[in-house]
């Protein structure tokens, strides 16, 4: 017997909620980044769960896409964080206000 879909969705929802709260309350850019990854993976989990439920590969393929894009995003995002750190010696996002009007 298969694990019911609801279990996956609950785990996924919790992961996404944790990620969201992390994005909202954290000030460290690296931790915000990790929280975003958590959100992405929560979504990936959902995709794969539905994919299994419908016996279709589409969801899994989309999850792979999501991972690839996330990897590319990590490269860019980390590069930006490193660059900001070099300029300000800080990864606190509240202090990165140089472009604010």
């Amino acid at each position: 017997m298969r694990t019911p879909i609801a279990y996956f969705l609950v785990v996924s929802g919790m992961l996404f909620a944790i990620g969201t709260v992390g994005v909202l309350v954290r000030r460290n850019a690296l931790l915000i980044f990790m929280s975003i990854e958590l959100q992405l993976n929560a979504v990936n989990l959902t995709l794969i769960a539905f994919s299994r439920m419908h016996n279709s590969l589409n969801g899994q393929v989309l999850a792979f896409f999501s991972m690839v894009v996330a990897a590319a995003e990590v490269v860019v995002g980390l590069a930006i964080i490193v660059s900001v750190y070099r300029r300000t010696a800080s990864v606190n996002v509240d202090e990165a206000r140089g472009l604010s009007g």
Partner: protein
């Protein structure tokens, strides 16, 4: 063209378009390359207008070769306005009336152009002056050659524009710039009424062509004809400086003297007379309108003559004189003596242009002094100018057998023989005043002792200026051959257009009329000789003794002051209200208010933009939750 008698024009008539086109070309050339032409600008302008004069003469001779009934041709140039059923074409009309006018405009105009070559010599805007002068001639010729009221109106406004440009030609002087504005705005009052009149014609007749509007089948009611002719006459009042819109003409003397001679004596100001004579069918249909013309003309003739008596500026005397003489023309037109009005117009063009140009020569010789109190004795220094001006003055005063006598005497004779005794008496009184003011001008300027250094150092003007004076003097002297009484050459020539003056039989005998006219003229001249020429009266002392009267006349019955108080002050107050209250507070307030409102809204709105990514992310979240809730509730 539907009216009978309009056939294809013969060859010399086909050249009529050149009559206005030549001065237009001159204006264009002088406007664009006038600076490079230098002194040739004046010669070019004069030569082109002279060319128009020659063509006009050819047209005249052609016209005289035809029978009186067939002297009417319309040359179609091009379709101009075609809107629905309304059509106005650029058509030129050749008939005795328009040919008379183009001969005056081009003939006298050419002489004044030539004179101006000398008078304007050394002016920094020499080329531009002749461009304006030629442009004026163009518009004036369009005005008198037009075959419909719309084209006439183009010329009418065009000459107004040129008048403005030329009065304000020396615009560095504030008085000149002000006078130009005054002339433009005052005539605009009449022009607006005239435009309404043209609209009424369109409403009632459906076309503006003379042949339809003035024909017997125009189908106008008496009331409509009265309204239209009074509105047209309002335009004439403005253009011809009649009471109550006369105030601009004396001020217009700020312009260069050739301008005063050409525009403000010989041609433009007579456009009103031309308009009334041209439209006489409408005025006669109305009847009331003719009476109005007569009354306005008579009032103006006498009023302006009294004002001319007390002016010290030599040109202002002539300006008021012009107003007065134009009044006489309207008196003639008001009595249906259109030929007499036209003859007065022609004669006046000669002797008044002569007097103005003579005055210009005096001013030139006096180094730009215009005050007659500073003159005196100039006949010794400027014999030629003095001679021709005396001829012009005698002509104006009405001495037999000069042109002015026949002009004025014919009008007064008609007034008497047609039973209008009051008009005759008042007209004769005006003639007395005319003789007096022109005698005063001559005696103050040319006789007695020199009253200033300038007068002692005065010199005669160059030949380029005196030659036109001689030609004009000849015209002012012998112009009477054109019309002796009601049955001269000019009245016969004009008969197909204006008809014959038929009233008569009443009033004084011819001999008595001549005798009265002579006595009146002689009285006027002798009194002024005694006062100003004999040296036996200290006229400056007399002036002090009658100071209130003198001041009343010099300020022209305080009409200008009254206008300033009644029209000027409220208008300025209204302008100040509009500028400082309506514009500064209401309009600017609304504009600034919108700005302030937007800025406050923006200030409130920009608080949302904290710059903290977290806040935006929270907004994302809330938005996403809201959408999900909505979707959840909905489905």
């Amino acid at each position: 063209m539907s009216a009978a008698g309009l056939s294809a024009p013969p060859d010399s008539f086909a050249l009529v378009w050149l009559v206005p086109a030549l001065p237009l070309a001159g204006a264009a050339i002088n406007l664009f390359v006038g600076k490079r032409l230098g002194r040739w600008a004046g010669w070019l302008a004069s030569a082109l207008l002279a060319g128009s004069f020659v063509i006009s003469l050819a047209i005249l001779s052609h016209l005289l070769g035809l029978t009186a009934d067939s002297r009417l041709f319309v040359q179609h140039l091009f379709d101009w306005v075609t809107v629905g059923s309304f059509r106005a074409a650029a058509d030129l009309r050749i008939d005795p009336l328009s040919v008379t006018m183009i001969l005056v405009v081009t003939g006298v105009g050419t002489l004044i152009h030539v004179y101006a070559i000398g008078y304007m010599d050394g002016d920094p805007r020499y080329g531009r002056f002749f461009a304006y002068l030629n442009l004026f001639a163009f518009f004036m010729l369009v005005l008198v050659l037009a075959e419909n009221y719309l084209l006439l109106y183009v010329g009418w406004e065009g000459v107004g524009l040129c008048s403005y440009l030329l009065i304000g030609f020396w615009f560095e002087r504030k008085s000149a710039a002000d006078a130009a504005k005054k002339a433009f705005i005052t005539t605009r009052v009449g022009d607006t009424a005239m435009m309404v009149g043209l609209a009424l014609i369109v409403v009632h007749v459906g076309t503006l062509d003379f042949s339809s509007v003035l024909g017997s089948d125009a189908g106008l009611t008496k009331g409509a004809a009265t309204a239209i002719s009074l509105l047209l006459f309002a335009g004439a009042i403005g253009k011809s400086a009649q009471v109550p819109l006369h105030v601009w003409l004396p001020d217009a003397m700020e312009g260069p003297t050739p301008v005063s001679a050409l525009i403000h004596a010989a041609t433009m100001v007579t456009a009103g007379v031309y308009l009334v004579v041209r439209s006489h069918a409408l005025f006669e249909l109305s009847g009331t309108a003719l009476t109005v013309v007569l009354v306005i003309g008579l009032v103006t003739a006498i009023y302006a003559a009294t004002a001319a008596l007390a002016q010290d500026d030599i040109k202002r005397v002539l300006a008021y004189s012009t107003v007065s003489q134009l009044g006489y023309m309207f008196v003639a037109a008001g009595m249906r003596a259109y030929a007499a009005a036209m003859f007065m117009l022609v004669a006046h063009a000669f002797y008044k242009a002569l007097l103005f140009l003579g005055a210009g020569s005096v001013i030139h010789g006096m180094h730009d002094e215009q005050d007659m109190k500073e003159m005196g004795g100039l006949r010794r220094r400027m014999p030629l100018t003095a001679t021709v001006m005396i001829v012009g003055a005698l002509s104006l005063a009405g001495v037999i057998p000069l042109a002015g006598y026949f002009a004025k005497d014919t009008i007064l004779e008609i007034a008497s023989t047609s039973g209008r005794t009051l008009v005759y008496v008042l007209g004769t009184a005006g003639a007395l005043l005319s003789a007096a003011y022109i005698g005063r001008l001559i005696f103050l300027t040319f006789f007695g002792e020199e009253r200033s250094e300038h007068a002692r150092a005065a010199h005669e003007s160059p030949a380029i200026m005196t030659t036109p004076l001689l030609v004009l003097a000849a015209g002012a002297a012998v112009g009477g051959v054109l019309a002796t009484g009601v049955e001269g050459k000019l009245p016969t020539f004009l008969e197909p257009v204006v008809g014959v003056f038929a009233e008569g039989g009443a009033g004084l005998a011819k001999g008595a009329l001549v005798a009265i006219a002579l006595v009146v003229t002689a009285t006027g001249l002798l009194v002024t000789w005694f006062l100003y020429g004999s040296g036996r009266v200290d006229w400056l002392a007399v002036r002090v003794r009658v100071a209130p009267l003198h001041r009343f006349l010099q300020r022209a019955w305080y009409v200008d002051d009254a206008y300033a108080a009644v029209v000027g002050t409220p208008a300025k107050a209204a302008a100040a209200f509009t500028a400082y209250v309506v514009d500064a507070r209401v309009v600017d307030g609304a504009v600034n208010g919108v700005g302030i409102l937007v800025r406050r809204l923006a200030n409130a709105g920009r608080r949302v933009q904290t710059g903290f990514v977290r806040n935006y992310a929270l907004a994302f979240l809330l938005g996403a939750v809201a959408i999900l809730l909505y979707v959840g509730v909905r489905f």
